[in-house]
């Protein structure tokens, strides 16, 4: 099952990328308290998915030699952009990353069904539900931030 193991590896890697990106964005917007704290909470979700996946990875073996899904691997976000517009763009990028994670789990869940691999099915379905929560938060926060960021030009807050 070379392709399934590739996808398992991809899930592991993209969860890692998402967690790292969440933490980088959180640090970068540390002055926006809810973003700082919530990105940490969401990153822990991704950490947890990787932990749950670990025994499956051990069973299938991690295999990332196959070319095709490799192109799907999204680059992470190393640092946050500045200001309120920057936050909007960062949230959009996180949304894209999380969507990749989610579809990866969707693919794996289908494979797990075919293989009747209950452990993998449980892991992928639980992870998918949590990824939905991450995505929902990105959307909620985007909506809240957008009008102010787009319409009101912020001036630098100099004392």
């Amino acid at each position: 099952m070379p392709h399934l193991s590739t996808y398992v590896a991809l899930a592991d890697r993209s969860e890692q990328t998402l967690a790292e990106s969440l933490r980088a964005i959180g640090e970068g917007h540390a002055n926006i308290a809810d973003v700082f704290h919530m990105t940490g909470t969401l990153a822990k979700m991704s950490d947890q998915h990787r932990e749950q996946l670990a025994p499956v990875v051990a069973r299938y073996g991690e295999d990332d030699d196959v070319d095709e899904p490799e192109r799907l691997h999204a680059a992470g976000l190393a640092e946050a952009r500045d200001g309120e517009i920057g936050l909007l763009r960062d949230l959009q990028d996180l949304h894209v990353l999380a969507t990749l994670v989610k579809t990866t789990w969707t693919v794996i869940a289908q494979g797990a069904q075919g293989l009747r691999d209950r452990e993998l099915l449980d892991v992928s379905q639980a992870a998918m539900a949590q990824t939905d929560r991450q995505i929902r938060w990105f959307e909620t926060r985007l909506k809240a931030a957008a009008p102010q960021a787009l319409i009101v030009t912020p001036k630098p807050a100099a004392k």
Partner: protein, 832 residues
């Protein structure tokens, strides 16, 4: 003559279960005045906490000189507590009242006239609207104004300007109460009633030090626990409060969970209901959604696991759960210990879950009271001055927005409804970054009461934002403003407000405001007229001028909504008692408790929110909500416990929590100007457990430095009743009454240490979870100023060295025949 500083709850009037709470009239008048000397008594209700005790204001020679409880009022049956008795009137004639508007000239605030002050506001406001539109405007209001004022402000903000940046300091005290109701029941609205106290077999108080926050309500409970067939008390609090003592006396339980672990405890209690078969399966099946998810969420929270996370005894968890599982009627109350702590909304929703699992709602004795801190916080939520839409309308529901657009005759697009309203914390973020350039603060003191107060002061004093402050006194916040407007206070204006159990009171004007001070309603209307706000037909917006006209307009806004005021009028409110909403054709005398038919306002077209993920605050969409087809069923929602954002570390090994004392209210604007209350709690302190004090070499009265990563305070230590590992500081003490001390230069303001972090759903800041360290800096010269009468009492070992708090001015208490209360279930059964 009673000293109500020494005797906080007054004498007991014990009575047995199911009988009416006896009436007693409490009274205080200024020195040398007798009841016979009073010129007039003016109907009102107390505004020094959320209890809303009905009272009459004594007026002599055009001055408010005392108060008397109204025996006929359903809320307090004539009683008043220390704050109401001693704190209601003295502030009004204080020589330091603001009497003229002020504007900043060359860095200094100077007195001016109304035209100049308002002219300056309008000039800035119009310029900003031209340049960048309404999102440049923010309003930060209070839990202390009247319905008429909130509603007017709401209409100005939503229909006149069209800004979503509107919140109240209710965000700091009761946002979680509202949020938890919306998540469980679909809309805000207190399900229970104070009359539940007379009928219950157990009372659970969650993070609610009621003996100090709502003294008259606690007196009502004491009259049951000291009478026949008393209810058992279960107390969840990290301090050994008087509630905890009552728990011991009634064979209940005191659970003192580690700060920041409330949700783990709640999950443990919930699990016990499931595993012991205490769930009413048929009721749950018929009237709720989500039981399976909840069961699996709490499955792993065994008493042992809870014991480990929370630092409580596993058997105490079992005992508390058994009391909940086996009592016939249970009342639960919740306050800041839950609202201002980690995972606030989830923990408060868990209280609802327990009640729903047992079908313990909607009948006398079986209720939930999610308390409020401030007297009129409820109205801020109802009227939409906290950013929500008036009448518990859903900003995500286009029909609800259209209803308001029709009512106000404006384009629905004017009404900001594209996203959740801006919460207080975000409001200050925008003011900090300069995208809110006009911030209007009314009747609140964020420079002392917000977390990380040094940061807030910097925002308010910076040039990036034009700040207007409207208040009774030159508060720490007013000192930083660009324009200061003198406001009339309680008794100096007419208006209505609603207490925590939905009871609406009329508070009539008793005296003239000092100097040129004006009511908040007049000030808001003055601004609206000067700005020339109009509706689609060019008529003035808002269209009303007097308080009564405003009330009538508000009444229309509630038509068809759960918060139904349509059966109320000023005339009706001039009757013997406050009246609990809904009041309408079906319930002309008001409604004692909600959900007696087990029908909740969760229908997709009715609800105030489609709900949130309790962990992240992510919003549920309309489509998802519809798919669940709630149709009047309540939601059971659970969440996993996660550790608090700031945990003790090597550098900051203790947990820091803030709170209040029985003798003060907020930043002491009123209570600090009462001789009796000031003497009883004159200055800040910090409480440590005997264990921690011993380890740190600290004795009673030593001066200590308490430091967090954000700031420090230096105050005297009380070796007291707080749990080991925790440090408690009262938040009331700023700088206004310290001579020659600028805000920020004093060393006693508890919020210097707290952090900017808030609940993802209710957006209420977590004042009760921060890490700190404590070091001794000087030896004691006497005991700390902490009162001895309640939770701040000294530990037993130190008790003999500390004189008891006493010395309040004389008051009187007279037992009177108990009148008939229209909605009281104990009197209904007498009649039948």
């Amino acid at each position: 003559m009673n000293d109500r500083i020494a005797d906080i709850w007054g004498e007991r009037t014990p009575h047995s279960k199911g009988t009416v709470w006896p009436a007693r009239v409490d009274l205080r008048l200024d020195d040398g005045v007798n009841e016979a000397d009073v010129d007039r008594w003016v109907q009102s209700a107390c505004v020094l906490c959320s209890n809303g005790c009905g009272c009459d204001i004594a007026v002599k020679d055009g001055k408010m000189i005392g108060v008397r409880g109204r025996a006929s009022d359903t809320v307090n049956h004539g009683r008043l507590g220390p704050k109401g008795l001693y704190g209601s009137t003295p502030w009004a004639s204080s020589p330091d009242r603001l009497t003229r508007p002020m504007v900043r000239e060359h860095g200094q605030l100077v007195e001016t006239d109304w035209d100049t002050a308002m002219g300056r506001i309008v000039e800035v406001s119009k310029r900003l609207l031209d340049e960048n539109g309404p999102l440049t405007h923010g309003f930060y209001t209070s839990g202390q104004l009247f319905i008429e004022e909130y509603y007017t402000l709401g209409v100005i903000g939503k229909a006149g300007l069209g800004t979503p940046h509107m919140d109240g300091n209710t965000r700091l005290c009761t946002a979680t109460s509202a949020a938890s109701f919306k998540e469980s029941f679909g809309a805000d609205g207190q399900p229970g009633s104070y009359t539940d106290i007379e009928h219950c077999d157990a009372i659970f108080l969650y993070g609610h030090n009621m003996p100090e926050t709502q003294t008259v309500l606690w007196a009502r409970i004491l009259d049951r626990t000291r009478g026949e067939d008393p209810p058992r008390i279960v107390c969840v609090d990290p301090r050994r409060t008087p509630v905890a003592e009552e728990a011991d006396r009634t064979d209940g339980v005191h659970l003192a969970p580690r700060i920041g672990t409330n949700l783990a405890l709640m999950n443990g209690l919930t699990r016990e209901l499931f595993v012991n078969g205490w769930v009413d399966d048929d009721w749950v099946q018929a009237h709720t959604i989500g039981v399976d998810d909840l069961r699996s969420t709490v499955e792993s929270y065994t008493p042992e696991k809870v014991a480990e996370i929370c630092g409580v005894d596993a058997d105490d968890v079992r005992r508390a759960a058994r009391i909940f599982g086996e009592s016939d009627n249970i009342l639960s109350t919740v306050l800041q210990g839950f609202y201002q702590s980690h995972q606030a909304t989830a923990a408060s929703v868990a209280v609802h879950n327990l009640h729903l699992l047992r079908g313990m709602i909607g009948r006398p004795g079986a209720g939930v009271l999610q308390m409020n801190g401030q007297p009129t916080a409820q109205n801020n939520r109802e009227c939409g001055a906290d950013g929500d839409l008036p009448g518990f309308r859903n900003w995500g529901n286009p029909q609800h927005v259209q209803q308001l657009a029709d009512l106000w005759n404006v384009d629905p697009l004017t009404i900001p409804h594209w996203a959740p309203p801006t919460n207080a914390m975000q409001l200050f973020n925008y003011a900090e970054s300069g995208s809110i350039e006009l911030l209007w603060v009314s009747a609140t003191n964020p420079a002392v009461s917000m977390p990380e107060s040094a940061r807030i002061r910097k925002i308010l004093s910076g040039p990036q934002c034009f700040v207007i402050v409207q208040d009774l006194f030159m508060t720490e916040t007013a000192e930083l403003a660009d324009v200061v407007l003198p406001a009339a206070g309680w008794g100096e204006k007419t208006g209505t407000f609603t207490n925590v159990n939905r009871t609406v009171h009329l508070s009539e004007q008793a005296v003239e405001p000092p100097g040129e001070a004006r009511s908040d309603l007049e000030i808001f209307l003055m601004y609206a007229r000067a700005m020339g706000f109009t509706d689609q037909d060019g008529a003035a917006l808002p269209s009303w001028s007097t308080p009564e006209e405003t009330f009538d307009a508000w009444r229309e806004a509630t038509r068809g909504r759960p918060v139904d005021y349509t059966g109320l009028s000023y005339d009706k409110l001039r009757g013997p008692s406050g009246i609990p909403w809904p009041v309408n054709e079906q319930a002309p005398t008001g409604t004692d408790r909600l959900y007696t038919d087990f029908l909740f306002p969760t229908d997709t077209d009715v609800c105030e929110t489609y709900g949130h993920d309790l962990l992240t605050g992510g919003t549920v969409t309309e489509t998802e909500h519809r798919a669940m087809a709630p149709a009047g069923r309540a939601f059971l929602k659970g969440a996993d416990y996660t550790p608090a954002h700031e945990l003790p570390s090597e550098d900051y090994p203790l947990l820091y929590t803030t709170g209040r004392t029985v003798y003060q209210f907020h930043t002491r604007t009123k209570t600090g100007r009462s001789r009796s209350l000031h003497r009883a709690a004159p200055d800040a302190w910090v409480e440590l457990s005997t264990e921690d004090a011993g380890r740190l070499g600290i004795s009673e009265g030593d001066v200590v430095r308490v430091e967090s990563p954000r700031g420090a305070i230096e105050v005297k230590a009380r070796v007291g009743q707080v749990m080991p590992g925790a440090v408690f500081a009262p938040f009331h003490y700023g700088s206004w009454d310290l001579a020659d001390v600028a805000p920020g230069d004093q060393h006693r303001q508890a919020n210097e240490l707290t952090m900017t972090v808030w609940d993802p759903v209710s957006k209420q800041p977590y004042f009760k979870t921060a890490a700190c360290r404590v070091t001794k800096i000087a030896d004691a010269v006497g005991p700390s100023p902490a009162p001895t009468t309640a939770a701040s009492a000294p530990a037993e070992a130190a008790a003999s060295q500390v004189p008891a708090t006493a010395g309040g001015d004389p008051t009187s208490s007279v037992l009177v025949p108990t009148p008939h209360y229209v909605n009281d279930p104990s009197q209904m059964s007498e009649e039948s």
